[in-house]
Symmetry: C2
Subunit: 522 residues, 2 copies
C-alpha cells in the first residue's frame, strides 16, 4: 500500500499507528487525535489554475452578495438596493429581450406549441421556428460539433452583408458565448511559457486568465488613454520586441473592438494597421468583436477585421503584390456573441467565431476540440441565428423588432453619454467618452493620503476605493487593477446599463460619495 507523501509528513506517528491498528484489526477504536490530511487541498491545486485571476466576479461581488443579504434581512444601509455595474449583463438590469427572438425560441422549445402556435405570434416567427426545427431532430439532440448548418449559413450571410465580402459557413464555428471559442483557440496555440499572446492593457481578463491556466505568457500592449484608448503601432512593436527579448514566441495578437473595459471604437485605419502588423509579424489575430453593434454617437463606425482582410485581399487581386502577400498569410479569428449588442442574451450562451486562412488540418483540430464537449448548447445556437438574421423589411415582425432595437440602442447611447458627463463633472475623476461597448473606464486621481490608507490596509488603491464606493452607495464596479492599467494610475470599470431611473439614483449617490471621499483624503 502506498503511503502518500503529504499523509506521512503531516500525520503524527501515534495517530498513524492507531489508524494502522484499526485497519489491521478491522475493529472500532477511538478516532485518532490528529485528523487525516485530505488528498486534495489547496496546495495540490494546479498552480496554473491558482494563478488565474478574474476580477469581474471577484471580491467586490462577494461583498455585494453579503450586502444584498443584509438588505433582504431588513438591515439599515445607506442605500436600498445593490446595483451591479460590474458586468455587462443587460437583462439583469432591466433590459427586455427582443420579442421576435423569444417567440421563436419558445416555439422551438415545445414541439406541441409549434403545432398550434399562440394566436398572437406573427407568421415570420412561426416560419423561422419551422425552418430551425426542421434543421435538427430536436433542440434536445446533440448537434454537429461545429454547429447547426443552417445557423452557420445565416451567420455567413450576416457577415457577407455586413462587410460586402463573402463568408463561408465552413469557416464558422458556433460556441457557448464568445468565451468558449476564445479558450479553445488559445488552447490550440499555447504550448507552454515560451508561447506568448499579445493582449491589450487594460483588457477583459478572460485572456489573462486563460493564458495563466494554459501556462502561457501574456505580453501586454498598453492602450493609449490620451487618445481614447487608441491602439498604437509603436506600442505593439515594443510589446512584441519585449516578449521576444524574454525568449518567448509570440503566437497571437488579441484586439478587443469596441473595447472592453475601455469602450473605444477603433477607426478603419487603425484596424488596417493592426491587421497588417499581425500578418507581417506572423501573429494570429484574435479579434474580439462582441460589441460590434454597440457604437454610439459620432464615434468611428464599427469596421470589422474580416472586412479589412477582404479589402487587403482585393488590393492584392488588383495587383498590389505586398498586399497579396500579407493577405495570404493573415490568419484571423473573429469572435461574436449573443450576450451583447442590443440582443443582450447573456444567459443563453450563444456565439460564433469565423476562421480566415486557417489550414484544413488545423481546422480539424478545432473540430476535434469542439467534439470533446459534444456541441455548444442548441438553444444558444438558434439564438445566434436569430441575432444575425432579424426580421426583414416587409415581414410582419419587422416594425416591432426595429422599434425595440432602436429604443435599446438609443437608451444605451444616452446613458453612456450621461454617465460619462456626470463622472467628468466630479472631482478626482476623468473619463474618456463612451464610443462603444457597455463600459466606461474612468481614471481616478486619488489623493496620496487615499493611496497610503489603502496601503495601510494591504489593498490596492483602486480596490480600496471600489469597496468604499460599494459600502456607501450599493454600486458594484470593478477596480482597474482587475484589467491592468499603466503603473501609478487607478481606474474602475462601470457599465452604464442600469435603467434610467436607477441610473439617476446611482449617479447621485456616486457624486455624493466622490465629493466626500476626496474631501476626506485631500
Amino acid at each position: 500500500m502506498r503511503a502518500p507523501l503529504a499523509f506521512s509528513l503531516a500525520l503524527s506517528l501515534a495517530a498513524f499507528s492507531a489508524v494502522l491498528a484499526a485497519d489491521a484489526a478491522g475493529e472500532a477504536c477511538a478516532a485518532p487525535a490528529v485528523p487525516l490530511p485530505l488528498p486534495l487541498t489547496l496546495d495540490g491545486v494546479s498552480p496554473t489554475v491558482k494563478a488565474a485571476e478574474y476580477a469581474v466576479r471577484g471580491r467586490l461581488l462577494d461583498r455585494s452578495v453579503e450586502l444584498s443579504a443584509l438588505l433582504a434581512a431588513g438591515a439599515s444601509l445607506p442605500f436600498s438596493q445593490i446595483v451591479r455595474c460590474n458586468i455587462g449583463n443587460p437583462q439583469a438590469l432591466g433590459q427586455k429581450p427582443l420579442s421576435f427572438v423569444r417567440r421563436v425560441l419558445s416555439l422551438l422549445m415545445n414541439p406541441e406549441l409549434l403545432e398550434a402556435p399562440p394566436p398572437a405570434y406573427p407568421a415570420d416567427v412561426i416560419a423561422r421556428a419551422k425552418l430551425y426545427a426542421a434543421a435538427v431532430p430536436s433542440v434536445g439532440a446533440y448537434s454537429d460539433s461545429q454547429g447547426i448548418a443552417v445557423v452557420r449559413e445565416h451567420v455567413a450571410e450576416f457577415i457577407a452583408s455586413r462587410d460586402g465580402f463573402p463568408s463561408s459557413p465552413s469557416d464558422i464555428f458556433l460556441t457557448d458565448g464568445a468565451s468558449a471559442g476564445v479558450k479553445a483557440l488559445m488552447q490550440l496555440m499555447i504550448r507552454g511559457p515560451h508561447d506568448a499572446v499579445l493582449a491589450p492593457i487594460p483588457q477583459y481578463p478572460l485572456y489573462s486568465a486563460t493564458a495563466a491556466m494554459l501556462n502561457g505568457t501574456l505580453a501586454g500592449y498598453y492602450l493609449d488613454e490620451a487618445t481614447s484608448w487608441g491602439v498604437v503601432e509603436a506600442e505593439l512593436r515594443r510589446a512584441l520586441a519585449r516578449a521576444v527579448d524574454k525568449g518567448a514566441t509570440a503566437r497571437a495578437l488579441v484586439v478587443i473592438n469596441p473595447g472592453n473595459p475601455t469602450g473605444q471604437s477603433l477607426p478603419k485605419e487603425v484596424v488596417e494597421m493592426i491587421l497588417r502588423f499581425a500578418a507581417s509579424e506572423g501573429l494570429v489575430l484574435m479579434a474580439d468583436e462582441v460589441y460590434q453593434e454597440n457604437v454610439y454617437g459620432d464615434a468611428p463606425p464599427f469596421y470589422s477585421f474580416k472586412r479589412a482582410l477582404a479589402e487587403l485581399r482585393l488590393a492584392g487581386e488588383k495587383g498590389d503584390a505586398a498586399a497579396a502577400s500579407l493577405a495570404a498569410r493573415a490568419q484571423l479569428i473573429s469572435f461574436h456573441s449573443t450576450s451583447k449588442g442590443f440582443i443582450g442574451e447573456c444567459g443563453l450562451r450563444g456565439g460564433y467565431f469565423e476562421l480566415q486562412n486557417i489550414p484544413d488540418d488545423v481546422k480539424a483540430q478545432i473540430t476535434k476540440l469542439a467534439s470533446v464537449s459534444l456541441c455548444s448548447n442548441v438553444v444558444g445556437q438558434f439564438a445566434t441565428g436569430l441575432m444575425v438574421r432579424p426580421p426583414r423589411e416587409g415581414e410582419p415582425s419587422h416594425a416591432e423588432y426595429s422599434a425595440e432595437r432602436a429604443a435599446i440602442l438609443a437608451s444605451l447611447a444616452k446613458r453612456a453619454t450621461h454617465t460619462a458627463a456626470v463622472l467628468n463633472s466630479l472631482p478626482g475623476i476623468s473619463c474618456n467618452a463612451a464610443e462603444g461597448a457597455m463600459y466606461l473606464f474612468p481614471q481616478l486621481h486619488l489623493p496620496p493620503r487615499a493611496v497610503a490608507a489603502a496601503e495601510a490596509e494591504g489593498a490596492k488603491a483602486d480596490e480600496f476605493y471600489a469597496l468604499r464606493l460599494l459600502e456607501a452607495t450599493g454600486l458594484v464596479v470593478v477596480p482597474g487593477s482587475g484589467f491592468g492599467q499603466a503603473d501609478g494610475t487607478w481606474h474602475f470599470r462601470t457599465t452604464f446599463l442600469p435603467p434610467d431611473d436607477q441610473l439617476e439614483d446611482v449617479l447621485k449617490r456616486l457624486a455624493v460619495f466622490q465629493r466626500d471621499f476626496m474631501a476626506q483624503y485631500e
Copy 2:
C-alpha cells in the same frame, strides 16, 4: 522587425528579397513565386491538443456524413438511411422530450407567454415556470457562476431523497452537461505529466482526451469483461502501483457507473469497495453517474457513491473509527447530466456535480474556474431543475409524466435486451447483457484473416470492421479501440437507441453483414 524562425527557414532567399523590396517600396510588384508560410500550421498546434483523441465523433462519423450526402443525392446504396448508433443521443433517434419539461421551458423562454399561458398547460407547469422565472432576472441574464440557487436547492433535495442522506446546495455546481464539470475538475487537479488519473479501460474517451489536453497521465485499470465488466480491487491496486512505479502521483480515480461504453451497473458492495480504496489511497473519486436512471431488468439497482460515503460516515458516527477516518478523508465528486436517463436532453447541455469533503479554499478555485466562463447556460440549468424535481403525485402533470417516463424506460430495456440477444445469436460476436446506460460493447471474435486484411490496409481490426459494417448497412458504431480494450481483443460500442421499427431493420442488416463477413474471412 522580427523575422519569425519558420519564415526565414522555409522561404527561399529570392522570394524573401522580393517581399522585402515590395515592403520597402510600398509598390505593387509580381507576387513571390514561393508562398509565404502561415503563422499557424499543424506543426504549431499544441502537442497536447494533437494528442487528444475522441473516437465517438471520429472517422466513422465523417464517412457516415459522406454516405448521407450520397443518399440525399439519390445514390443507390445497400441501405436507405444512416442509423447513428455511435453516440447516446436519444432525441436524434426519435425519443420524444418529456412534455412537462418542454412546457415549462417554453414559458420561461417567452415572458409574454408566461403572462398568458396556452390554455392546455396544466397548473403545475405554470407554477414551476413562475417559480423559476422569479429566481432570475431573465433566462437571458448571466446567473451566479455556481448556478441558480433554487435549482441547486432542487438538486440537493433530489440527492437527499435518492440516498436518504442530506445534501447541501452549497456543494452543488451547475454545468453545461457533465463534460464541462469533468474538464474543470481535471484541470484543477492535473499539474503535469507526473499527475495521473486512474480511469477504466474501456472508458468514455472524455477522460483520456482531457488528460491528454492537460498533459497529464491516464493510468488505465481494466474492467473485467468475464464478470459483466466488473471493477476488481486487485486490478485497481495493480494500476495504481504501476502509475506510482512510473513516477506518477495518482490524484484521482474515475468510475463510470452505470458504465460507458460497457453498460454494467455496479453492485453496492463494489461501489463501497471503490470508495474505500480511493479514500485509503488518497485519490479523489470522480463518479460519473450520468446513467443513474438507466438500469434495466434484474441488474443491480443504482447505488450512488454519495450514499456509500454517507453510510461510511454514519458507521463512523456509530463508533467505527476506521470508517470515520476513511469517511473524513474520502473526497468525492459526483457528476450528473440532463443528456441521458429518460429525459435525454443532450442539446440543452444541463448537468451538475456535487462535492464532498472538498475544502472551502479549493471550492473557491472551482468557483473561479466557473466564473471565467461566466455561467453555464441558463436554459440547461433550469432543465436540470426539471429533471431532478418532476411533477409529484397529486399534481396535474404527474400522470402524463409517469406514463411518458415508463414508456421510455420500458422501451429502452426492451431494446437493450433484444439487441444483446440478436448480437449473441450471431457468429463471431459475444456480448454481455445490458445492465444499464445506453450501450452494448460486444466482443468481436475476428478471424485471423480479417485482422491480417485490416493490417494490410494499415487499419486497426475493429476500425476495419466498423467501416465495412457502415458501408454495408448504414449503421454507425464506434470501434472498441476508441475506448481502449484488452490487447488482442476487438469490440465495438453501439447504442440501442433506434426506435423499434428502425432497430429491427438495422439488426437484420447487421445479421446479414456479420454472417457474410465471417464467411468471407474464415
